[in-house]
Symmetry: C2
Subunit: 142 residues, 2 copies
DNA sequence: CTACAATCTCCAGCCACTAGAGGTTCAAGA
DNA sequence: TCTTGAACCTCTAGTGGCTGGAGATTGTAG
């Protein structure tokens, strides 16, 4: 176990610049270097980076991952904080799904209403120009 | 009709810096100015900015809005391009909903499995540390 | 020993804003 | 007419989470 950054990248499926970025923001510790200043990683780095990648895949932001990682360093403490972090994230995912579901129905209605004539008669354009014609209100989607 | 940027902002519910930003990126035309170089807007600007805001609320990106706006300038042309833009957006919304729905179920399972003991035994942490323990595969969520 | 792939650092760009500094102008009230 | 202060101006930098490129250096296989 003495991986170059490229080998680590292939092993964990995280791009090389992303690994350097994680080091820069303090998610990954700065590894030892060769005489020529190239990074060399060990098994712990593989585990930590995998953890980070899985958490990112699940949509956790860097701050949440930082907190989750700090929990793994204290295995005797209760895991409620982890619970809270996941719950918070689940909440935001659910809110996002609700928004997007509303959005989807608006978009579908727009497509249904479209008469496929000239732009002048296009309901899509009309709805955008005068929002009150649309069926539902909804918040910003970001 | 001769609105200051602040009046336009209140009328359309778009923040002042955002209006200037839209001008900068060419979504809004540069309006006439007073002798003291302050912007003054007319009814056309209200309509155009409303259009932009509604489209943004529906999650269209700036490029799509640019295309939609250019269609409104040619009311005799067919509206198929608008159709295509909406369809493309609907597609991406649906893909996003599918991703997030998968994600939601993963997060729910994580919470169900949590034993509320010490971190050492926490399934949440374990799943993150060793992703193969999780029930489903899923793509990146962004 | 020579290629050349991989690595290094540093900087810029992505999206769609948002915030702040530091200065100027407008409009209402005295 | 003058004063005040809210609103406006430009310019720059920051957000999150990377991603890509330039130009220089290092590691390694043949």
């Amino acid at each position: 176990m003495d991986l170059s950054i490229g080998a680590l990248s292939r092993q964990v499926a995280v791009k090389v610049p992303t690994i350097r970025y994680y080091e820069q923001i303090g998610l990954l510790p700065a590894p030892p270097r060769t005489a020529g200043r190239q990074r060399r990683y060990g098994a712990e780095d593989v585990a930590r980076l995998s953890f980070i990648r899985h958490a990112r895949d699940l949509g956790f932001d860097v701050e949440a991952i930082r907190e989750l990682l700090s929990l793994t360093a204290r295995p005797d403490q209760p895991c409620e904080p982890a619970d809270r972090i996941v719950l918070r994230h689940l909440d935001s995912v659910e809110r996002r799904i609700a928004q997007l579901t509303l959005l989807r129905s608006e978009l579908r209605h727009m497509l249904e209403d479209c008469r496929h004539g000239p732009v002048r008669e296009c309901r899509i354009i009309q709805v955008l120009a005068d929002h009150d014609q649309c069926r539902h209100e909804h918040g910003k989607v970001s």
